[in-house]
């Protein structure tokens, strides 16, 4: 294969084209006419996966702003997997709940375009542009049930706080530009490494503003307020998509900026992120225990997981960087599956997302109850699931950098979190079903997708070495 200026953006182009085709197809769709829009979306996503695999180890760059290094490709493959799974799970529910199919898939694809570009961007302006592309699509997806009051409220809250966070991020970028005279990540890294910036108030302000901006998007305490409401109000499948895709993309860009360009400043920002990570892990877990709505519970669980991911950034060593990638993969698979199960069991009229609704699920949907158990065990970090290896890997990175207390806080909060994951398991298996109506039947394609996802969770938990090696190899070329 020859190389061209466009190599690095080929995966993004695949997804964009699919989005445009879906939008065109929707434009010419007659009312009540059925079109395989989900299939069109899948073609684009699979094309992008193939492009990512072919670009592996080639370190292609485009326009001086987009890179396809292995780090970006690894995260992009996670994001694309999340996208493919979301489309597979959505096929049935979009039709059942009467969601606007064309708009749903098009927005999903455009959000993925933004996520992928955000991970691949090597210029802060492109990071911002990609973040907005992603966020605006996700705001609309949150409120895609536009005649549902809760969904609209969630979308509006998410939009207002998200726009506010974007302003913080942009302000941080402006300060960094003011100090270094460039928005390119490499350029910033060179200037920051060459001069001793410690104590320079401008760059400290820039770092603080960037932490606030990314903190909002990743959903860490104290910038997490939007996430339980947004996660609860959105359709469960969209929640699964945004709690993994958005988080993976924002986390990857966060790590790229802080661990490459701003790494010389690590003694300045590491203590701040240490504190943020610690309260995020504690608060996400403790508040999660008090929830009775499953979606809110998983929302707080995903806040706690953002805290564990931050531990990897704070550690900042080789193990930490690889651990972030592995954790993102494990977390994305697990959370998408968890929210998919909630989404498959509930409709708008009967959300079935309360803890009580899961009483005796074992008797009505034995397969789903079994899959949900593995998902919850993985979220809680039990062996032999992906969640266990991911947590162990992150904490060993923290210990390796001498952050013993952070590792202890992380370990204790995951022990406490086990309580609320096991509460759901107890509900499903050991409680008798009351007089509530039996949840809906589940489509075969969605069940197959879930089974594959759960198999992948177990694979990552039992034989993690291949993916760990891949993660370690993909960071070695970048940082």
């Amino acid at each position: 294969m020859g190389t061209s200026a466009f190599d690095a953006v080929i995966p993004v182009i695949c997804v964009t084209l699919a989005g445009l085709v879906v939008l065109l197809a929707e434009s010419f769709r007659k009312k009540q006419e059925r079109m395989p829009l989900g299939g069109l979306a899948l073609i684009g996503l699979i094309g992008a996966v193939i492009a990512c695999v072919l670009l592996w180890d080639r370190n292609a760059t485009s326009f001086g702003m987009v890179t396809a290094d292995n780090y970006a490709l690894f995260v992009n493959l996670i994001i694309l997997t999340v996208g493919i799974l979301t489309v597979v799970f959505s096929q049935h529910t979009v039709e059942r709940d009467g969601l606007p199919a064309g708009e749903y898939y098009a927005l999903l694809l455009f959000a993925i375009v933004g996520m992928m570009l955000m991970v691949q961007a090597t210029d802060l302006l492109l990071v911002f542009l990609a973040l907005e592309t992603m966020s605006i699509a996700v705001y609309v997806l949150t409120g895609i049930r536009f005649n549902d009051a809760r969904g609209t409220e969630a979308a509006f809250k998410y939009f207002l706080l998200g726009a506010f966070a974007s302003a913080f991020l942009l302000y941080g970028i402006a300060f960094l530009f003011g100090v270094t005279g460039t928005t390119s990540l490499d350029g910033i890294g060179t200037v920051v490494a060459a001069q001793s910036m410690s104590g320079n108030p401008m760059i400290l302000a820039a770092i603080a503003l960037l932490i606030v901006g990314f903190g909002f998007k990743v959903g860490v305490v104290p910038f997490h307020q939007w996430s339980p409401d947004a996660y609860e109000g959105a359709p469960a499948l969209v929640t699964g998509f945004m709690s993994t895709g958005v988080k993976a993309a924002a986390m990857a860009a966060f790590a790229r900026i802080f661990l490459s360009s701003l790494e010389p400043m690590i003694t300045d920002w590491a203590p701040v992120l240490w504190g943020v990570a610690a309260i995020t892990m504690i608060l996400g877990t403790v508040v999660g225990v008090a929830q009775t709505n499953l979606k809110r519970m998983l929302a707080y669980s995903s806040i706690a997981h953002a805290g564990y991911l931050l531990v990897g950034i704070v550690a900042g060593n080789e193990v930490g960087k690889a651990a972030i990638l592995f954790y993102l993969a494990a977390y994305a698979l697990t959370n998408v599956a968890g929210f998919a199960i909630i989404g498959l069991l509930g409709t708008k009229a009967a959300p079935n997302d309360d803890l009580r609704d899961y009483a005796g699920l074992w008797h009505t949907h034995p397969a789903l109850a079994g899959l949900m158990t593995i998902v919850l065990l993985s979220l809680g970090g039990f062996p032999p699931t992906a969640g266990f290896i991911a947590k162990w890997y992150i904490f060993s990175a923290a210990v390796g950098s001498g952050y013993y207390w952070l590792a202890i806080i992380g370990f204790l909060s995951s022990v406490v979190s086990v309580f609320f994951y096991l509460r759901i398991v107890v509900m499903m298996f050991m409680t008798e079903r009351d007089a509530r109506p039996v949840p809906l039947p589940v489509a075969a394609s969605a069940m197959a997708g879930l089974a594959v996802t759960v198999a992948a969770i177990l694979y990552l938990g039992i034989l993690p070495s291949r993916v760990i090696d891949l993660a370690a190899a993909s960071i070695s070329t970048v940082f």
Partner: protein
Amino acid sequence: MEGWGGIGVMMAVAIGFGISSVILSQFLGPSNPTPEKEAPYECGVPPVGDARERQSVKFYLVAMIFLLFDIEVAFLYPWAMALRDLGWFGLAQITVFILILLVGYIYIWRKGVLDWGPESDPDYHVAKVLGPSVVKRYRYGTGN
């Protein structure tokens, strides 16, 4: 922070001038109001009715679409200025840009966003049968 003193003085003078003219005109200006003077300024035309009228919700869509296509044109101007330097590659880029926007245009057109009159909506004819009050409610977006 050297060199910023002049700007500080300028800002102080600007703010001071604004505040002092408001306060001084309160004390020094003669005050003999008439109904004409109290009326809101409408470029000399006598005001008619209340400014807070109900607007059709369709204006919202029109405004949003205007914004999008206005920005498209805003991108075309700098490209047109650098047309010769950018050459065929620039032309290809701007064509792709316009094609992407064209997909959006086709979408809003097919979805009926460009049909601004109420007559374009089949529900409107039902409303017409029900009487003028329903038409009015429908037109201003309060009816169902």
